[in-house]
Structure formats: structure tokens, C-alpha cells
């Protein structure tokens, strides 16, 4: 039996699961506050724009976006299988491609800031 190449997709999944576990709730809380009309100072256009001007911030955000989307994509793939969807290769292609595309988009947008 051949050693599986699953680690290629599992490594980023595990890293992304850890990153989202630590970061995502507080970040959702920030935008929830904005949704409730009490947007935190950092979400003001000038401050956020200045924050993303720094290359380190851009790099970090791309990293967080990629790992968050990748771990969500991987979990969605497993969930589809658990729910009886047998076309695993197709599901995997769609979810991972989606994660990579959205990551590429974020790179594009950050480049314009």
C-alpha cells in the first residue's frame, strides 16, 4: 500500500484549525460590534487602510485568510463524505480551488491598498 499524500492537505488544515480557534471568534466579535452600530475604532476607514498599508499586516492577513479558508474547505469536504456524498475527488477539487481562489483574490485586493 502506498504512503498517502494526505499530509499535503492535512498540514494546512491542522494549522488553520488552530489559527481559527484562537483568532476567528474575536474577529467575528469585532465585525458583530460593527453590525450592531458600535464599530471598533480600528474599523474606521483611515485606521484600517493605514493598518493594511504595512507589508507585514498584508502578509499576515493573507496567511490567516488562506489557513482559515483551507481548514474550512477541508472540513467541508469531510462533512460532505459523512453526509453520503461519494464524489470525493470532485468535492475536494471544488472546495480547495475555492479556498485558493479567494486567497488569491485577497492578495489582489491587499495589493491595491
Amino acid at each position: 500500500m502506498a504512503i498517502s499524500n494526505k499530509p499535503i492537505v492535512w498540514g494546512p488544515f491542522a494549522a488553520g484549525g488552530t489559527v481559527t480557534a484562537f483568532l476567528t471568534p474575536v474577529l467575528i466579535l469585532l465585525t458583530l460590534l460593527a453590525a450592531l452600530g458600535h464599530a471598533p475604532d480600528v474599523l474606521a476607514y483611515d485606521r484600517l487602510h493605514a493598518f493594511f498599508g504595512h507589508w507585514l499586516a498584508k502578509l499576515s492577513v493573507v496567511g490567516v485568510v488562506f489557513l482559515s479558508l483551507w481548514s474550512a474547505a477541508h472540513r467541508l469536504r469531510i462533512t460532505c463524505y459523512d453526509l453520503g456524498v461519494r464524489a470525493d475527488i470532485m468535492v475536494a477539487t471544488v472546495v480547495y480551488a475555492g479556498a485558493l481562489a479567494a486567497t488569491a483574490a485577497s492578495v489582489l485586493y491587499l495589493a491595491r491598498i
Binding site: 471568534p25 452600530g37 482559515s68
Partner: protein, 129 residues
């Protein structure tokens, strides 16, 4: 004596056989909300890049009732992901010091503590309070 083993089919009923499977599916479904929120934020980056007017429109969109409901639900699911992830960490990363293993509660507890501190620091730096 003839053998004729019978294979039982199960379909999706396994999910409802015990609360632990429902909890597992809830944990797995958190990916939909974490993924959707992240995509929403990528779109927000686009709006931020397009200038103040586009960014204001994005903030207005965030204030819509659908967005508020989504945020509350997404926050709940994201917190459940964190809760389950940190509680599972001791099984994936056991720590043997000398002869004994560090209790799982200590490993998980340390993660929760870091999570709390990080959350506080980020909220403070973001000017949330």
C-alpha cells in the same frame, strides 16, 4: 452448513444514534460559518481597496438584519470550534514530563487561557472598549 452473512445498511441514521454524533456534526458544520465569514471579510478587503465610499457601503451592509443574525450564529459556531479544538488538543499532543503525562485539563486549560488573553488584547488594540 451454509454461511450467508447479512450486511446491515445504515444510511445517515448514524448521526442520530447518540448525542455525541450530533455534537460531532455541529462541530463539523462550524466550517460553513467560519468559511462564510472569512469570505465576507475578503469581500470587505475588496471594498476597503476601492475607497471610503465602498468601505462605508460595506459597513452599512454589515448592519443589515441578515448580517446581524449571521454574525451571532457564526460567533456561536466559531466559539464551539475553539472549545472543541482546545479540548481535543491534549489527545493529539500529549506531554510526558519525566514519567508522568501532563494532565489533559492542564494542556487544554493553557490553550483557553491564551485564547482569553489574546481575545482581550485584540479587543483592546482594536479600540472595542
Amino acid at each position: 452448513m451454509s454461511r450467508r452473512p447479512y450486511v446491515r445498511e445504515e444510511g445517515l441514521r448514524w448521526i442520530f444514534r447518540h448525542p455525541r454524533y450530533l455534537r460531532y456534526m455541529t462541530r463539523e458544520f462550524s466550517c460553513l460559518f467560519i468559511g462564510a465569514w472569512t469570505l465576507m471579510m475578503v469581500w470587505g478587503l475588496k471594498q476597503l481597496a476601492e475607497g471610503p465610499a465602498a468601505w462605508s457601503a460595506f459597513l452599512e451592509f454589515l448592519k443589515s438584519p441578515a448580517s446581524v443574525v449571521f454574525h451571532v450564529v457564526a460567533l456561536a459556531f466559531a466559539a464551539y470550534h475553539s472549545y472543541t479544538w482546545f479540548n481535543l488538543t491534549p489527545q493529539a499532543l500529549p506531554l510526558q514530563i519525566g514519567e508522568e503525562f501532563v494532565p489533559g485539563a492542564a494542556i487544554a486549560g493553557a490553550h483557553f487561557a491564551v485564547w482569553a488573553v489574546l481575545t482581550g488584547v485584540i479587543l483592546y488594540l482594536a479600540g472595542a472598549f
